[in-house]
């Protein structure tokens, strides 16, 4: 999940001719006077470029009537942290006189297996907080796109003045083209401002699909809303989630990894790390995963492998090799079933880890090792 920063999203909007406020990115206070003396008129809005939501309430948005005010705001914002995310860039934009704020987005409706266009006159707040009856929905046939009559319908329901109604059709078409051509999971404009009789995209939210990044190499190194460790694992292609607790789980298969963490939770343990080995039995990959787990500093790690496609013995070999190279700072419990299960268990026992066949038994031992009262 690649979540673009506001200014990155707006760069894409610009390429698709979506109307934007005049603005530019400042990476230091020194950039401000250049921007405000050049393309961006005052008064200005200064927006910290962070991926976390709720910037308005969090103090990440500032207003400035003078260059000095703007510089003060930028100076204050750069380096500040919002929900753990450090500000490195701010967007300096002209402040526009708003006659209204709308919402429009395109995303995937998994239930109907179709893209969905959502729109509302209640823009400017998180869409989750808008009443369902205030949100219009249009499902889109993927090979047909948004139809002209549907665009007209949306403009009518938004009760827009004529010039804005006309612009909205083009803007929806642009969103659709971004959604498809950029392989987005979500393209959202919130708020879509009404300025006079015209539309201006005041914010951007674009989430790109990981699996399609091979078509968009420019965004391959962008992140999502991930912890630094998750980001690191993501770059290595390891499915890795930090969950707050002390117990790390390495399993093969997302379902099995989740189920293992669930069993731990139900047995009174605190899930700490989800690490899915996937279908691999490549010792190098196993070692890498193991090293990632180490960085999360769990109190205890439980390895649960069902060897179907994956062979238990090669997984075990990978683990043991890694343990030899970097002896773990945590106790390890393993449970291994399936293809070459005896060989795998033997390899692990020889290396000194506790190895089970029964999962309930194994989990009870893991929770015991976590050692909470």
């Amino acid at each position: 999940m690649v979540k673009l920063l506001e200014w990155q999203g707006k760069e894409i909007f610009r390429r698709y001719n979506i109307p934007l406020p005049k603005g530019g990115v400042a990476r230091s206070v020194g950039d401000v006077s250049r921007l405000l003396g050049g393309t961006v008129p005052l008064p200005a809005v200064i927006k910290a470029q962070v991926r976390v939501g709720g910037r308005g309430k969090g103090g990440a948005l500032r207003f400035a009537n003078t260059v000095a005010e703007a510089e003060a705001a930028v100076s204050d914002l750069i380096g500040k942290e919002f929900k753990g995310e450090k500000v490195q860039e701010v967007l300096v934009e002209e402040k526009m006189p708003l006659a209204g704020e709308l919402y429009v987005s395109i995303t995937l409706d998994r239930s109907r297996r179709k893209p969905i266009l959502m729109y509302s006159r209640e823009g400017g707040v998180e869409i989750e907080n808008v009443a369902d009856e205030q949100i219009g929905k249009i499902w889109i046939h993927p090979s047909v796109g948004v139809l002209e009559y549907e665009k007209r319908l949306v403009a009518n329901r938004m009760k827009l003045p004529a010039p804005a109604a006309k612009e909205l059709g083009g803007l929806i078409e642009a969103l659709w083209r971004i959604f498809r051509s950029e392989d987005a999971e979500l393209v959202e404009i919130n708020p879509l401002g009404i300025v006079g009789d015209h539309l201006v995209a005041l914010d951007s939210k674009i989430i790109l699909e990981d699996d399609a990044l091979f078509r968009h190499p420019a965004y391959q190194h962008e992140g999502g809303e991930m912890t630094p460790l998750e980001q690191k694992a993501h770059e290595k292609g390891i499915a890795f989630v930090e969950m707050g607790g002390d117990i790390g789980v390495i399993a093969n298969g997302a379902g099995l990894t989740m189920a293992t963490l669930d069993i731990i939770l139900e047995n009174g343990g605190r899930p700490g790390v989800f690490l899915d080995l996937g279908g691999t039995d490549d010792p190098a990959k196993v070692s890498e995963a193991f090293a990632m787990m180490g960085e999360a500093k769990p109190k205890v790690v439980f390895i649960n492998v069902f060897g179907g496609v994956t062979r238990c013995d090669t997984v075990a070999t990978g683990l043991v090799n890694e343990m030899k190279r970097n002896p773990p700072a945590f106790p390890l419990v393993t449970r291994i079933r399936g293809h070459n299960e005896k060989e795998g268990m033997a390899i692990l026992r020889d290396a000194g880890t506790q190895s089970y066949s029964d999962i309930a038994e194994a989990v009870r031992h893991v929770v015991q090792l976590e050692g909470r009262p």
Binding site: L108, M243, A254, G255, L256, D276
Partner: protein, 289 residues
């Protein structure tokens, strides 16, 4: 009886000359599956595991009349391979490939639907009918012929569960892996409908996980249409919202798709919901009593 595949299935393996394609062709054959052809552009005329390889699907179809395609094609080329499969008139395509962009899958889904091909997957372990045929990558040893239908969004977890069924003496009619992607070609409802219409299936095991509302929709279907017992398990009660738990589809967004919601819907629909996967065999036995 069984659903989707059986002893009469004739399998074409697309991408047979690749590492995965070759390994799993061997696995399918040792399961007793009738793998009739493979295809890889430029490798026509060779054989893999005794299976003739063709340059294109159409050539393979002309020569060997397959009725199921199994796709081991790298994600960037999967869409094209699926279109080729559909154009060749093959009615069932099982897509093993992981990381297929959902935008591609949308195109694939509608093209396949319009032309009468059913897709299973992508990012799935395939379909297996013990005593009939296996298409995909499920391990052979876990299965046993019987009367339980299994349908699941996950892979390894399902192997564990099927293995558990076998150890408890519960055989399967067919085991369907729907795959962990947000846009599956076949849904729980589709699979439940197949099992509902299969006289040999006496009970159904449904293994879901967090993300989306496919389990809730399946619950509505169970309540309205299904007259066979369903035992279900949902993975991910411990999953935090907003995090993608391995599968592209396993993510709780905007408060939707939680394990609790799915479990509640299934319980309400009259399904037995297992707290732990290893409870499933005894719940199935109860249901069959």
């Amino acid at each position: 009886m069984s659903v989707l595949v059986d002893g009469s299935s004739r399998i074409l393996v697309k991408g047979i000359t690749g590492h995965q394609g070759t390994i799993h062709t061997r696995g399918m054959k040792s399961f007793g599956t009738n793998v009739v052809a493979g295809d890889t552009p430029g490798k026509g005329g060779t054989t893999v595991e005794g299976v003739p390889v063709f340059n294109s699907t159409q050539e393979a179809v002309d020569a060997t009349k397959p009725n199921v395609a199994c796709l081991f094609v790298p994600a960037p080329y999967t869409k094209d391979a699926l279109f080729e499969t559909v154009d060749a008139g093959i009615p069932l395509a099982v897509i093993i490939t992981e990381h297929v962009p959902f935008h591609d899958m949308l195109d694939m889904l509608y093209y396949a639907k319009a032309n009468g091909t059913r897709i299973i997957g992508p990012n799935c372990p395939g379909v297996a009918t013990p005593g009939g045929a296996k298409v995909g990558i499920m391990p052979n040893v876990i299965f046993q012929k019987g009367n339980v239908g299994v349908v699941s969004r996950s892979g390894t977890l399902t192997y564990e569960i099927v293995n558990g069924l076998k150890e408890a003496g519960l055989g399967q009619t067919t085991c369907i892996g729907l795959g962990g992607d947000p846009v599956p070609g076949t849904t729980f409802i589709d699979a439940l409908e197949l099992f509902q219409n299969d006289p040999d299936t006496k009970a159904i095991v449904m293994v879901g996980e967090i993300g989306g509302v496919a389990e809730e929709e399946a619950a509505a279907y169970i309540k309205a249409k299904l007259d066979k017992p369903v035992v279900s398990y949902i993975a991910g009660i411990s999953a935090p919202p907003g995090k993608r738990m391995g599968h592209a589809g396993a993510i709780i967004t905007r408060g939707r798709g939680t394990a609790a919601s799915k479990m509640a819907a299934l319980t309400d629909a009259g399904a037995k919901v297992a707290k732990f996967p290893y409870e499933i065999p005894s719940l199935v036995k109860e249901s069959l009593r």
